[in-house]
C-alpha cells in the first residue's frame, strides 16, 4: 500500500480550486456537446479521386511536390463494418496525413457502402475483380511497376489473397491487425463456429448482414466499452483537444456499415469456420491461394490488447509466407489504437513509416 501524507491546507485549497474549475468546465462543455453538437470535420487531407468501380473508390492523397518515395502505398481497409475516414480522422490525428508528410505517395481504397443491389458481391470478386483494377490504377497513375500493399483489419487477408495470386506488383506487404489464422481469432471464432452459428439462415433471411447486427456483434465483444468511453469523456470533458478527438472518433465508432450477403457468407464459412486461408485451401477466381507465393518483404503489426484480431492470429502470416525479409511488431493498445489516437502517432506510425521507407527506395 502506498503511503501518503495528509495534504497541507494550502495544497488542499489549490486542489479544490482546480477541481472546481475543471468541474465547471466539464459542465459547460457537456452542455455544449448536448445542446450545440458540432459535426466533426473528418477526412481533411487533400485527395483526388482516381477511379470508381461501383461503390468502391480509389483516392490518391497529397501533392506531387511532397512525394519523396517512388513506391506508392495502396491501403486496403476492411470491407463493411465501418467507414475508412478513421485513417484520416482530423488534422494532427490522421494516419494518412502522417504518411503523406513522410513523403509517401499514398492511395486508399474505399470499398464504399454496399446496398441490396450488391448482395451478390463475394469475397472472391473483391480480390479477383476489384483489387486488381485498383492496383493497376495505382501503378498507372504513379507510372511505376510495383507498390506497397498495406492491409488493415480485414483488408490484410484481402490483400494477402491478392498478393498471393499476383505477387509481381507487390513490392512490400504490411499486415496491420489483420486476421490470418482464424483458429486464433478470439471470441468471433467461438461465436461463429458452425455448430452454433447458421450463416446460411442469416444471409437467406436478410440478403445482407445488416449494419445493426454488425454493431451488435462488435458491442458484444466488449460490453463495458461504452461505459469506459463515457467515463473517460466525463473525466476529460474540460480538455478541448480530448473532446475534439472524442467527437470525431465517436462519430466513426457509431457509423456501422452492412456486409453484402454473399461476401459475409464466404467470409464466415471459408475463413472463420473452415480457416482455409492459412491452410492454403482457399480457391479464388478458380485459382488456389497459396500464401507461400508471397516472397516480398513483410511487416506484421499486432496490438497487445486487440480482442478483434488477437495478435497471434495476425502473426501467423509470418510462418506461411516465403519472404526472407519479415518482421513482427507487437505494440501496446487495442485494434483501433494502431491507427487512431495519440498512442498510434507516437508508437505505431513512425515504426510502420520507417519500415516502409527503407523498402521504398526503388521499384
Amino acid at each position: 500500500m502506498t503511503e501518503w501524507k495528509l495534504p497541507t491546507p494550502d495544497v488542499l485549497t489549490k486542489t479544490l480550486q482546480e477541481e472546481t474549475i475543471k468541474n465547471v468546465q466539464r459542465l459547460s462543455k457537456g452542455m455544449d456537446l448536448i445542446y450545440h453538437p458540432k459535426e466533426p470535420q473528418v477526412g481533411q487531407t487533400p485527395k483526388e479521386l482516381i477511379h470508381r468501380k461501383n461503390k468502391s473508390a480509389l483516392y490518391r492523397y497529397g501533392h506531387d511536390a511532397d512525394r519523396r518515395h517512388p513506391v506508392p502505398i495502396l491501403m486496403v481497409p476492411n470491407l463493411g463494418i465501418s467507414r475508412p475516414y478513421i485513417f484520416d480522422l482530423y488534422p494532427g490525428s490522421s494516419f494518412i496525413e502522417y504518411m503523406v508528410q513522410q513523403g509517401f505517395d499514398f492511395y486508399l481504397l474505399d470499398w464504399g457502402v454496399f446496398g441490396d443491389e450488391d448482395n451478390g458481391l463475394t469475397f472472391d470478386e473483391s480480390v479477383t475483380q476489384i483489387l486488381p483494377v485498383m492496383a493497376r490504377k495505382v501503378l498507372r497513375t504513379s507510372k511505376i511497376r510495383q507498390l506497397t500493399l498495406l492491409g488493415y483489419c480485414m483488408g490484410a487477408p484481402l490483400g494477402a489473397c491478392y498478393a498471393a495470386l499476383n505477387p509481381e506488383p507487390v513490392k512490400n506487404f504490411v499486415n496491420m491487425a489483420g486476421p490470418i489464422d482464424f483458429r486464433q481469432g478470439g471470441m468471433f471464432t467461438i461465436w461463429l463456429d458452425k455448430r452454433f452459428f447458421d450463416i446460411d439462415k442469416l444471409v437467406d433471411t436478410f440478403g445482407s448482414m445488416p449494419a445493426d447486427m454488425v454493431r451488435l456483434g462488435f458491442k458484444l465483444l466488449k460490453p463495458t466499452m461504452d461505459l469506459n468511453t463515457f467515463t473517460n469523456l466525463w473525466w476529460n470533458l474540460w480538455d478541448e483537444k480530448y473532446v475534439e478527438g472524442f467527437v470525431a472518433l465517436n462519430k466513426w465508432a457509431n457509423e456501422y456499415t452492412p456486409f453484402p450477403g454473399e461476401f459475409f457468407r464466404q467470409w464466415v464459412k471459408e475463413f472463420y469456420q473452415e480457416n482455409k486461408l492459412v491452410k492454403n485451401e482457399l480457391i479464388l477466381g478458380g485459382r488456389p491461394v497459396d500464401l507461400s507465393q508471397i516472397r516480398c518483404p513483410l511487416l506484421v503489426v499486432g496490438a497487445k490488447q486487440d480482442y478483434i484480431t488477437p495478435p497471434e492470429s495476425a502473426k501467423a502470416l509470418l510462418d506461411v509466407v516465403a519472404s526472407s525479409d519479415k518482421e513482427y511488431l507487437e505494440l501496446p493498445g487495442g485494434h483501433i489504437s494502431l491507427i487512431a489516437g495519440r498512442g498510434a502517432k507516437r508508437n505505431v506510425w513512425p515504426k510502420v513509416s520507417t519500415w516502409i521507407a527503407q523498402r521504398s527506395r526503388e521499384a
Partner: protein, 175 residues
Amino acid sequence: MSDGPIDQELLSMWKRSLDQGIEVWQKLIGQPPTPDISQFVRPIWGQSMDLWTQILRQGATSPDVLAQWKKFLDDSVEAWSKVLGQVMATEGFAASMGKFLEQYLNTVGPLRKSLLSSNEEFLRTMNLPSRKQVTDLASQIVSLEARLESLEERIQDLIDSISLLEVLVKRGASA
C-alpha cells in the same frame, strides 16, 4: 483503506451467507432448479469478488479523492469486463447466442417475407416499381458498368502497347 485479513474475513463471511441464502431458497422452493444457475454464477461471482478485493487492497495512491474514485471505477469496470469476457468466450454462451439468433430468424424470416410480398402487391396495384425491381435494375447497371470498365481497361492496354510499339519503331528507325 483497510488491510488484507479483515477484508478477507468479511468477504468470506459474505460469501458464506450468500451460499447459505441460496441453500435456504432452494429448500423452500423444493428441488434445486435445473440447470442449477448458482453453479454457473458462483465461480464468476467469486472471481469478480476476488478482483474487487485485489483492487481494494492496492489502496490509495494519491490524496486526490476524485482521481481515486476514477481509478476505482476504471478498475472495477475492467474487472467486470474480464469476467464478462470469460463468460462470453465459452461454448455455452456461443450456443445460447446461436439458439437466440435462430429463434429470432425463425420469427423475423416469415414476417419479413410476408411484409415484402404484401408491399410488392401494393406497389404493383399502384403501378409503382417494387424494391426488388429497383435493386434488380441497379444490379444490371452495376454489371454494365463492370463491362464498360473491362472494355476501358482493354483499350488502355492497347494504347499502352501501341505507344510501346511506337517507341520501339522510333528507336529502330534512328538506329
